[in-house]
Symmetry: C2
């Protein structure tokens, strides 16, 4: 199955064969995380949580249900989400006195408690995060990991004494996410979403769009400046140093754990299967003995020694010495799972006190002296991460093109690219692109300033921004 | 606030002051895990998951929703749980074509996939686990951590080729849980539940009842032998070595993470607050400098050095050098949070190259040479765990009494004890105890054999078992 030829089938095959998720759960849009997939997402979550906590976010866990009247407090928020929430109306045989909904995101669950917790400026900034599942009654077609009705994410929520502090927090949040994606080798563009596409209830939203081989944008994270809108709705105030009650300023940001996993599969995978970034690979090295008659016992002992020294050095490793598969089948199996390095050891390696290392990203082989194995593996794992970063960044750069006409945009999208166009800022023009070509204006660059070079691609009026257009899930 | 005098108020105070959970979420039975509480439960989960995975259980994550028709497949299961499930009936503005329910436990979510995954004897045993929240529309009074409508647990599910293997798995499951409780210093009795109180759909259930200062049993874990009942309902078969299709035998077991946290607070806590078992304490050591004019800088440097050497040795530690609190207030604060060891360092300690160690369990002080600090802390952490185990076991033993009359039972329960009685095995007699005295027959010992010493305490007929009676949440 070739990734380039038919991404969609390739992706589904990898999900199944690498035990990532199982799509046969009997409810549309709900997916089962299987062992290997779950271990990877657990690794991603740990890495993110550790960093968020180093930066002062307290871990918490809020309930999955939100009462209707709390959900309705912020007008834009409810307007935006009402059509896509799941409603719980009964408990056992009884109609519930108050309807509950499954969180589509947790602002309205968390902020009533912020109101209680925040009393004075000494309580600020307040920064928390939680890893949880959220629920959206998607009416669009669902797609495993990319667009589901239940999805795993981490959300952070902060409250501050001033607008400036909230603004700085947006940058801190975006910085933490950038660092995560970097460590996972993912490349993306960071966009400020057009106003018509911002988070419901936000002042503005920025978002990380990862490239995808099929050309559809994969939104792997978002950061929102909420201003004092939710503070007003939930009456979150603090006593400032003069003794006056003042509204807080808030931010929130969400990291799509399932979509990040999708991005890892999509950006790094190849025709052999997954290629995992070493930091979140459940196993970083697999040792495969190449058996030879008469050497069974000594080979086993040699490999067991190797395994122990790897584990002692903190390298996540396993020894695949089962006799159910031939070495070639084992290679195939562990390549599919994306384990970064394979160590092949046969009688010849044993005699020479060497082993053969095979990198998953390039499939290149090197012979290494056992005495130098540990530092060599550590260096290769770093190199592998750097190679994933470099490859992925090159693909991103290659996949962006500029367009001066709607026809050019169509061609670009058909070539599975993101397309840069000049835009006047009018939602009607965005709508026209969507209706005629099926591409969406995803926003303008947040990290760099790009000046428009001509008139709006749709109406010909003065352009305000260079924006990026792509197809989406 | 004294724990012995008024357990209930003491418990609520600790939950709030130690930032364990916040009970002010505006939906009955749903609680917010705050920072310190969440860090502890995350530690408990990691410890359990690691052990389950060492024993071959694959981590997974199944959806929170179960479709009605799948839920109804096993007759006893649906009968038992139907009255306490939350129903999702709407998505946005539309009535759902099929009602969904929030998992009250995940057998009916998981077993349709077991049916797909299990093909031949080579797929067996199949062992998985997941950490997740479950939902029960409790009609009884709810109580934070002890009895909630949303609660955090880990559930394991296994399938086997034979009844004997399933039986052995029950023991493995119970063994893993016992080890966990041991490491957390919790004491409990392991009971086989009477048939009228077994898990809906099980052949039999065993359960870990932890003692609680108010005398109410705290069920912290259960292990169920499901026989082939669910296999029949979900048609889970495998091809045996003769090529015949055969039903699998199953077990499942649940570890109540929130209730284990409640048990830790209840069994180990004292009038100063929490006392945390070192293995799951988010911080194991807090360093509190005792400032003295003229020594500020040198003290800070000395404490920072200590902190670094502790962290380097893998001891979770912090330095509380804020100037917002006086040392005495800091002691109070960290004692409330249950941090196992406190290191006090003032100018005198600094000059003598020592520090003063204070154990949270006994509050005893020792002076230690800095050069011996690390091994001394490691030894003390172990001693502290052993002391919690010993104290908790003694309390358990002290809290059990035998009773020959119903009046004796009442007295025992009023004294907040578990009471051992002879029982004929008739559910009516159990009912009578419950109605007259408010105590429940929790079952007979699974780990040891206790022969009845007289007639049934209620009806005077021949007794079949010695059973334990206690009040419950």
């Amino acid at each position: 199955m070739e990734k380039e030829e038919n991404f969609s089938d390739w992706f589904d095959k990898v999900l199944l064969e690498a035990s990532i998720v199982d799509g046969r759960y009997p409810v549309k849009g709900f997916t089962v995380y299987r062992g290997w997939g779950y271990r990877i997402v657990r690794g991603i979550c740990c890495m993110l949580e550790e960093r968020l906590e180093e930066k002062g976010h307290e871990p918490m866990l809020f309930p999955v249900v939100i009462p209707e009247e709390t959900f309705e407090k912020e007008a834009e928020h409810i307007k935006g989400f009402a059509s896509e929430v799941f409603w719980i109306t009964r408990g056992g045989d009884t109609e519930l006195p108050r309807k509950l909904l499954l969180r589509p995101t947790s602002e309205t669950a968390i902020y009533p408690l912020f109101k209680i917790w925040i009393r004075s400026h000494a309580d600020l900034p307040m920064k928390m995060h939680q890893t949880c599942t959220i629920y959206r009654y998607e009416t669009k077609a669902t797609r495993h990991l990319f667009r589901a009705r239940e999805f795993l994410w981490n959300e952070a929520h902060t409250a501050h004494a001033s607008e400036e502090e909230a603004e700085r927090q947006v940058l801190e949040g975006a910085g933490i996410y950038s660092e995560m994606y970097q460590r996972l080798g993912l490349s993306y563009i960071l966009l400020r979403r057009p106003d018509f596409d911002k988070f419901h209830g936000a002042v503005y939203s920025i978002a990380f769009d990862a490239w995808n081989p099929d050309g559809k944008a994969n939104q792997i994270g978002t950061v929102h400046n909420l201003g004092d809108k939710f503070a007003k709705a939930f009456e979150i105030t603090y006593e400032n140093e003069n003794g006056d009650q003042q509204l807080v300023y808030q931010t929130c940001y969400g990291f799509g754990v399932g979509r990040v996993l999708a991005g890892i599969i999509a950006q790094h995978g190849d025709d052999h299967g997954l290629v995992l970034p070493p930091e979140v690979a459940p196993l970083q090295v697999v040792i495969v003995p190449i058996p030879y008659k008469g050497y069974e016992e000594s080979l086993k002992a040699y490999c067991t020694d190797l395994l122990q020294s790897l584990q002692k050095a903190g390298i996540r490793s396993t020894l695949d010495d089962s006799d159910k598969m031939r070495p070639g089948e084992k290679f195939y199996h562990w390549e599919m799972l994306g384990v970064p390095l394979r160590l092949e050891v046969g009688p010849r390696e044993m005699e020479r006190r060497t082993s053969t290392l095979v990198r998953r990203d390039t499939l290149k082989r090197t012979s290494v002296l056992s005495a130098e194995l540990i530092p060599c593996i550590q260096a290769l794992l770093n190199e592998l991460t750097e190679n994933l970063q470099r490859r992925s960044k090159e693909t991103l750069e290659h996949s962006i093109r500029e367009a001066q006409t709607l026809e050019d945009v169509r061609t670009g999208l058909d070539e599975r690219r993101m397309v840069k166009v000049n835009w006047c800022g009018d939602e009607n023009c965005a709508l026209q692109i969507k209706e005629e070509i099926g591409g969406e204006i995803r926003g303008y660059r947040f990290d760099i300033n790009e000046e428009p070079k001509g008139p709006c691609i749709v109406c010909g009026r003065k352009a305000e921004k260079i924006v990026y257009v792509s197809r989406t899930y």
